[in-house]
């Protein structure tokens, strides 16, 4: 058992008719573990399903809906806190999808609120957010200086009354990572919503999702990130010339590699219609094996492979010597 059946059901809901009882049990556990239960619920809505599956997915749908309302409220709270600064505030990830009403937001669980602001405004944003009731999650001097010197975001903040986190980004990848996306271009191209907040342009939304998936992490939650990419691509693919603009945008942000691989992986797992940018690599199979490493109880499997990707994620994030120093300091605590 792996997460492949879950992916197949997301891609093609008609397969639900062929799923056995034991498989349903596994699919539900894996969907929860991958935080895709709400998305699955939306995909399978209206189909004839075993009563328990229907009930579990119904709960996931209600969960996602209340999460959506909460996420939008967090967006509004941040908007009010930052409006006096008169700077561009760009919503990222899940909050952007639901604020824009994209298909990628349907059933999606939304954790933190992620926003992108100009680096020059970072001090003012930090001050405004702290004045509006957020506080630091982990006030540790090393973490704090590490974030400020090397990361693409401030240390996480949490709201004292609402208990929700906000991540304030000034670019989309750590400064220590090899690719250097152009944050000014991201801000310039951002699209305004009715409430004055912005979202990334369609191509850059996909570039960011790919960067988040492949250039900045150990692929935990990767199936959901890839599902975001699938939904976004299908949403935008009808625009004429979208594929070419996506390729150009990826190149501009030095993320062609990550974008191309994301498209291939999405195509392999979700049958996403993708432009033929590049041929499949042998290593794509390793990524698929890592992404789908779950057993029928929803537990992680393939530990050596996971560990290899964990190392890879750190090496992508920073050069080896810096990594050694960082891990040494973390380990001594």
């Amino acid at each position: 058992m792996s997460a492949k059946l879950l992916c197949a059901l997301l891609a093609d809901p008609s397969k639900a008719a062929t799923v056995s009882r034991a498989q349903w049990t596994a699919v539900l556990a894996i969907a929860h573990a991958e935080r895709l239960a709400g998305s699955l619920a939306h995909r399978l809505a209206g189909l004839a399903l075993p009563a328990t599956v229907h009930s579990v997915l119904d709960a996931a749908r209600i969960n996602a809906e209340s999460g959506r309302v909460q996420a939008l409220w967090e967006v509004e709270m941040a908007r009010r806190a930052l409006a006096p600064l008169a700077i561009p505030v760009v919503l990222l990830k899940g909050s952007a999808f639901v604020a824009a009403g994209y298909d990628a937001g349907r059933g999606r669980l939304i954790g933190d609120l992620d926003i992108l602001v100009p680096r020059t405004a970072l001090d003012a944003v930090e001050h405004a957010i702290l004045s509006a009731g957020w506080e630091w999650v982990k006030p540790d001097p090393y973490d704090d200086s590490y974030y400020r010197r090397w990361m693409h975001e401030l240390p996480p903040l949490i709201h004292t009354a609402r208990d929700r986190m906000i991540d304030i980004h000034h670019t989309i990848l750590p400064l220590t990572a090899r690719p250097t996306p152009n944050a000014d271009v991201l801000l310039d191209n951002a699209v305004a919503l009715d409430n004055g907040l912005r979202i990334l342009s369609p191509t850059e939304m996909i570039v960011h999702a790919a960067a988040h998936l492949l250039a900045d992490g150990e692929l935990d939650g990767g199936l959901r990130n890839l599902w975001d990419i699938d939904r976004l691509l299908r949403e935008f693919a009808t625009d004429a010339g979208f594929a070419d603009r996506l390729a150009a945008s990826a190149a501009q942000h030095q993320l062609s590699h990550a974008v191309n691989r994301s498209l291939r992986l999405a195509n392999m797992l979700y049958d996403t219609p993708v432009p033929p940018f590049s041929k499949r690599h042998l290593s794509d199979r390793l990524f698929i094996a890592r992404l789908t490493a779950r057993d029928s109880w929803g537990r992680n499997t393939r530990r050596p492979l996971r560990f290899a990707f964990y190392l890879r994620s750190h090496l992508l994030r920073m050069p080896p010597l810096q990594l050694l120093r960082h891990l040494w300091i973390k380990a001594r605590r």
């Binding site: 009882r21 556990a29 929860h32 328990t52 709960a59 209340s66 109880w297």
Partner: protein, 287 residues
């Protein structure tokens, strides 16, 4: 997982997997008369895991896990596996259940009408419910009242009753010993011992009924009964609910109709005999 068991409690199916045999053996005994999940598909997966993996052998420690998790849940020693699985099952309900409004309450039924006993831990609701169900009442559950949001019906959730500290001896006076699980000592909740509900409770686990009375017992003071305004009842029940906020509009509507259609009283009681008498008196005058 290596060791596992599945069971159904009222309308809700669970499967519990563990890295050790012991908790599953204990669960198998406690749940020996429970049915299997409908169609063999459980609603919730619960995992009792050794984390890190060497904790399976050295100072074995259970980490609670499952479909729904809270990141900072404290692990429990292997000897408290029954409590660990109970807490993990409760967690799935509290965080994942969206079909029913969940109230921290014990519920018992008589003549097709349900009595809801709610209050904080130590209020005596579990003890009263356990003793009532040894008389003329059917136990629906001692942990959660499941109020179906669409219909207002209270559904049975007759999990083994989790008795704590002094109530263990109190209930043991009235019940045969083969219905008790092992005594768990020095748990985070003190001493805990599980009581298997009687045949009436298990046989009736598919039969819901409408609420007829809400009582807020409080153990430890002189006998007294107090009337409550609807707004006080409403607020206290929102505090007693684990999923009221997450249900949104449907939770509000379910709770409003429960509160406006059901009489409620608070009462204090100094000992179980007085408590049972008060319950009987209020039930007879108010329903």
């Amino acid at each position: 997982m290596k060791h596992s068991i599945a069971m159904r409690v009222g309308p809700i199916g669970f499967r519990v997997g563990a890295d050790w045999r012991l908790p599953i053996t204990q669960l198998a005994d406690l749940y020996r008369d429970y049915p299997q999940p409908h169609e063999g598909i459980p609603h919730f997966t619960v995992r009792l895991e050794a984390r890190p993996r060497w904790r399976r052998f050295i100072r074995p420690n259970i980490t609670l896990s499952g479909d729904y998790i809270i990141p900072d849940a404290l692990p429990l020693p292997l000897a408290q596996g029954l409590l660990a699985s109970e807490m993990a099952m409760n967690l799935q309900m509290a965080l994942g259940q969206r079909h029913y409004l969940l109230l921290h309450a014990a519920t018992v039924e008589r003549e097709g009408k349900v009595l809801i006993l709610t209050g904080e831990s130590g209020s005596g609701k579990s003890t009263l419910a356990a003793l009532l169900s040894e008389r003329d009442w059917r136990l629906l559950g001692d942990e959660f009242a499941l109020i179906e949001t669409v219909t207002g019906f209270a559904w049975p959730f007759p999990r083994p009753v989790s008795l704590k500290n002094a109530s263990i001896a109190e209930v043991a006076k009235h019940v045969a010993t083969n219905r008790f699980g092992p005594l768990l000592t020095a748990t985070p909740k003190g001493d805990v011992r599980h009581l298997i509900p009687n045949d009436q409770a298990l046989g009736g686990m598919d039969t819901p009924a409408l609420p007829a009375l809400i009582l807020f017992p409080r153990f430890g003071s002189d006998s007294a009964v107090r009337e409550m305004g609807a707004s006080e009842v409403f607020i206290r029940l929102t505090q007693a609910s684990t999923n009221y906020v997450a249900l949104g509009d449907s939770g509000y509507r379910a709770l409003t109709s429960l509160v406006t259609q059901t009489p409620a009283r608070a009462f204090d009681f100094p000992d179980t005999a007085t408590g049972l008498n008060t319950v009987a008196r209020l039930w007879n005058t108010l329903t």
